[in-house]
């Protein structure tokens, strides 16, 4: 049996009396797409933050390719191959879309500081950046300031940046949040092409998207995984229906 790409054991996090992650264990196999669903406040974003290194867990371990990373800060984890998008679009607003992706390309050599050559004329950065923009359909908008992009475009830009990092794992926090129907469609199509070539953890409320993208679904309620499995199985799980889907 091959080792899981990402292994989480006994992860626990509380903010005061509020337990947001409760003894969580799960594995992520290489190439797999795991969707995490659950009601608001279930601790989904905090879980992503702990995987990415923005929030320190109170207890538990996280291993990437067998290497323990729970004590590594976010930038180290990113260099080890964890890329992420944020729930609220987080890019460099005054840089153009291409500049933003070029930075992501540059992040593959994040530890090397180059002080002299103009970065914007560096084809080793620009060419892969344009390719990533092409993939997410933003080629025409490459020169536009990130802050001037539409909401959907900005979300796609974040995906392009994650792609350009060539990560082992992509952590996507509600990539379709706030999008209209058509934008969501486009994003789902995009993610479907991407999921074949990388490993993904996806937080999503849109059940259509989950159904189409997830190989496996984990349901979080109050920090605990109450169910895990294929989308259809999970959907039929009475505990899940009761805690979450039943509300719909």
């Amino acid at each position: 049996m091959t080792e899981p790409l990402l292994a989480v054991r006994g992860l626990r996090k509380a903010f005061g009396a509020l337990i947001v992650t409760d003894k969580l264990d799960f594995d992520l196999a290489a190439g797999e797409t795991l969707a995490i669903i659950g009601p608001n406040g279930a601790g989904k974003t905090t879980l992503i933050a702990q995987l990415a290194g923005d929030v320190r867990p109170d207890a538990g371990t996280i291993a990437l390719n067998g290497r323990p990373i729970v004590h590594e800060p976010a930038d180290v984890r990113a260099r080890l191959g964890i890329a992420r998008s944020f729930q609220i679009t987080t890019v460099v607003p005054t840089f153009s879309a291409e500049d933003n992706v070029a930075l992501a390309v540059q992040s593959r050599t994040a530890m090397q500081m180059h002080f002299w050559q103009p970065a914007r004329a560096d084809e080793r950065l620009r060419e892969p950046a344009r390719a990533a923009l092409e993939r997410v359909g933003l080629s025409a908008r490459a020169g536009v300031r990130a802050s001037d992009l539409s909401h959907g475009e900005a979300r796609a830009l974040e995906i392009a940046m994650a792609l350009a990092c060539r990560p082992m794992v992509m952590l996507l926090d509600e990539p379709m949040a706030g999008m209209g129907h058509d934008e969501s469609r486009a994003m789902i199509d995009l993610l479907r092409t991407i999921k074949t070539e990388t490993t993904m953890v996806l937080i999503e409320h849109d059940m259509d998207a989950v159904a189409q993208l997830a190989d496996r679904v984990m349901v979080l309620v109050a920090g605990r995984a109450v169910a895990s499995g294929a989308y259809d199985d999970v959907r039929r799980d009475p505990v899940v229906r009761d805690a979450y889907l039943g509300e719909n």
């Binding site: 990113a78 944020f86 460099v92 607003p93 840089f95 002080f115 970065a119």
Partner: protein
């Protein structure tokens, strides 16, 4: 605009000779040295969003190191200037490593605290003159070039200024610069991409500190006098004013800010004892109505 600026810088000594006003060279040298400091500060404030309220500490340390070397008979500029830069860089590395743990207003205040420590240290060091300051016996020397000549010294300072401007302009457009600028706007994103943001910032901070130290050494040579007020918080404040006045995040703006602040004082202090009142009003008007400072006015609308 850069061409015109360069032309003016070159024209000053010529015009000074024609009009028989050697003081112009003197005043211009002061502006150029302050311009170097303001530019170095702009590098971290304007591009890195690290608002240092203690930049004068590096300027002062550079000045003192050069001054002390010169007092002890070591006068080669190849020693005094690099020594000043190195000392300022080391101080900046220490201050930066501790200060960069904080951000925003806290960063402003902690750099102020370190600046005050340097200030009081220079006040307390009686062997280097304490509040009386340290008279510097002679200027640094360069082979073949006579720095004692005011015009020659001005030209050397201007060369340093232009060289630093070119280097800094490339720096902010380099891979390194893109990371520092990106982190200024979205630290989260740069961290999530895997950049060790604190390390990049520290390097920028050290570069700025070292250049301020070099400017301090030039100042020691120029005024042949170093004193604790080089490190005072009001001096740090003036440097910030120069940066903002000139146009933050424009590099060249630092020079314009230095020129206007220095020029303002010498022009108005002749007319009225209350020139500070006028300056206060002008500062407020600039903040409220000329958002990108003098650079913004000169350059017109910014393109990007």
């Amino acid at each position: 605009m850069y061409l015109a600026t360069l032309l003016v810088l070159v024209a000053i000594p010529i015009l000074a000779a024609i009009f028989g006003q050697p003081f112009w060279v003197n005043a211009a040298t002061r502006i150029v040295i302050y311009g170097i400091v303001a530019m170095s500060l702009d590098l971290i404030v304007g591009y890195g969003a690290m608002v240092s309220f203690g930049h004068a500490a590096f300027f002062a340390l550079g000045g003192y190191v050069a001054g002390i070397l010169l007092t002890n008979g070591i006068d080669s500029a190849f020693v005094t200037w690099p020594a000043a830069m190195l000392a300022a860089a080391l101080l900046a590395a220490g201050v930066g490593a501790l200060s960069l743990r904080t951000s925003g207003v806290y960063f402003i205040m902690i750099t102020l605290a370190f600046g005050q420590m340097v200030y009081y240290a220079s006040v307390g060091l009686k062997m280097f003159g304490g509040t009386d300051g340290l008279p510097v016996p002679a200027r640094s020397t360069l082979p073949l070039i006579d720095l004692r000549d005011a015009t020659v010294f001005y030209i050397v300072c201007t060369v340093v200024l232009v060289a630093f401007f070119v280097i800094a302009s490339r720096l902010v457009e380099s891979r390194f610069g893109m990371v520092v600028r990106g982190a200024a706007e979205s630290e989260r994103r740069m961290t999530a991409l895997g950049f060790p943001v604190a390390r990049y910032r520290l390097v920028a901070f050290v570069i700025a500190g070292a250049v301020a130290g070099l400017a301090g050494a030039l100042w020691a040579d120029f005024s042949r006098f170093v004193s604790p007020d080089m490190a005072s918080w009001t001096r740090s404040g003036e440097f910030l004013v120069m940066v903002i006045l000139g146009g933050i995040g424009s590099l060249a703006g630092g020079l314009y800010g230095a020129a206007v602040l220095t020029g303002f004082e010498s022009l108005f202090s002749g007319f009225t004892e209350h020139w500070m009142l006028v300056l206060g009003i002008v500062l407020i008007l600039i903040v409220l109505f000329a958002k990108r400072g003098i650079y913004g006015v000169l350059a017109g609308r910014r393109h990007d």
